[in-house]
């Protein structure tokens, strides 16, 4: 049951999708992997929306070069663990929720434990090595994964529901190239991170149409957002027939 204080806090969105949906948000656990450009805006808006437990996972510390886009961190946070800096802001934003900060880099060995018990995983990572690990873990645990990625003025997002929709490896069988320094303007991960948060809210409350089997493509230069249809690949190495031969 929501308290009077909660009902007041969430009044504008309860007016949109009802008390029961707000209760679902309050009992949801969301794991956000990455407390950087995508993770900061996604986490802030999910905290504000009243997600009961927001778990942040990141193994980095705040660097001054992060500050143009990683909006939960400020000058005084340089050198701190990103998850600590972000968790502090989220707790100040919303006293009603639980914020768990895990200072760790996701790898093959720890991924399942780090995202264990989650209702939803937000892929706010900055490389495809970690993303493919999250995809496999999400498929194994049958937990939806909300993907986002950015570069420059460009971004993409999609929602993966294991067993039902195209998975990350169906859509991206080959990873885009790794770069040392990825140029990016802060508004790009701001927009994509909020698309991811919006997907999470929709999934948990059962509202609207998810970005499943669609790849949303944002072009900040042209100011256009398009969705491209994608589909499950039968021979996908992660979710299709191809998985037996490889693993």
């Amino acid at each position: 049951m929501l308290t009077d204080r909660e009902l007041e806090r969430y009044r504008r969105q309860v007016a949109l999708f009802g008390e029961e949906a707000q209760e679902r948000l309050a009992s949801a656990r969301v794991v956000i992997v990455g407390a950087g450009g995508l993770g900061c805006p996604a986490a802030l808006y999910l905290a504000a929306a009243g997600i009961g437990e927001v778990r942040l996972v990141d193994g980095d510390v705040v660097d001054r070069t992060n500050l143009n886009r990683q909006v939960l961190h400020g000058d005084r946070d340089v050198g701190r663990a990103k998850v600590e800096s972000a968790a502090e802001k989220l707790r100040a934003q919303n006293l009603e929720i639980t914020v768990v900060a895990t200072y760790a880099t996701v790898d093959d060995g720890n991924a399942a434990a780090l995202v264990g018990g989650a209702d939803l995983i937000v892929d706010a990572a900055d490389n495809f090595r970690v993303r493919y690990i999250l995809n496999r873990v999400a498929l194994g645990a049958r937990v939806p994964l909300i993907h986002g990625a950015v570069r420059g003025f460009y971004g993409q997002a999609t929602t993966i529901v294991p067993g039902l929709t195209a998975c990350l490896e169906c859509i991206f069988p080959v990873a885009p190239p790794e770069e040392g320094i990825i140029p990016v303007v802060g508004t790009t991960p701001g927009i994509i991170g909020l698309v991811q948060a919006n997907e999470a809210i929709k999934y948990i409350t059962g509202t609207g149409d998810l970005l499943t089997d669609r790849l949303l493509v944002w072009d900040g230069r042209a100011a256009t957002m398009t969705t491209l249809p994608v589909e499950r690949e039968e021979d996908c190495r992660a979710c299709g027939n191809g998985r037996c031969s490889r693993r």
Binding site: A124, N127, A149, R151, Q156, E178, D219, E231
Partner: protein, 100 residues
């Protein structure tokens, strides 16, 4: 002349992200009738040095991560050499990004 006998067809190209920046917008390209997806990609890559770099590796191979769509359907990289295009078709090209 044989060249004149061969008819051309028009294919619309929608490019996204860096590829769009390299090309400068959407394109309509004339390619020989019966041209394959690979032939079209070569023509797109030929429009500018940046477009070529966005689509092809230094050895001339198509960059494996570029998402190819034909009339709203995903095309696998391995199919590009055999998939023939028709007049009025639309091809969409998206080079995905990896940062966070």
């Amino acid at each position: 002349m044989l060249e004149e006998m061969k008819r051309e067809m028009q294919v619309r190209v929608r490019a996204f992200a860096r590829l769009r920046e390299a090309i400068g917008g959407d394109l309509t390209l004339e390619v020989p009738e019966g041209a394959t997806m690979s032939r079209l990609l070569a023509a797109v890559g030929g429009t500018s040095e940046q477009a070529g770099e966005a689509l092809f590796e230094e050895n001339g191979e198509l960059r494996g991560y570029v998402i190819l769509m034909h009339n709203g359907r995903r095309v696998r990289r391995a199919e590009a050499g055999t998939l023939t295009l028709a007049d009025g078709d639309e091809v969409a090209l998206f080079p995905p990004v990896a940062g966070g």
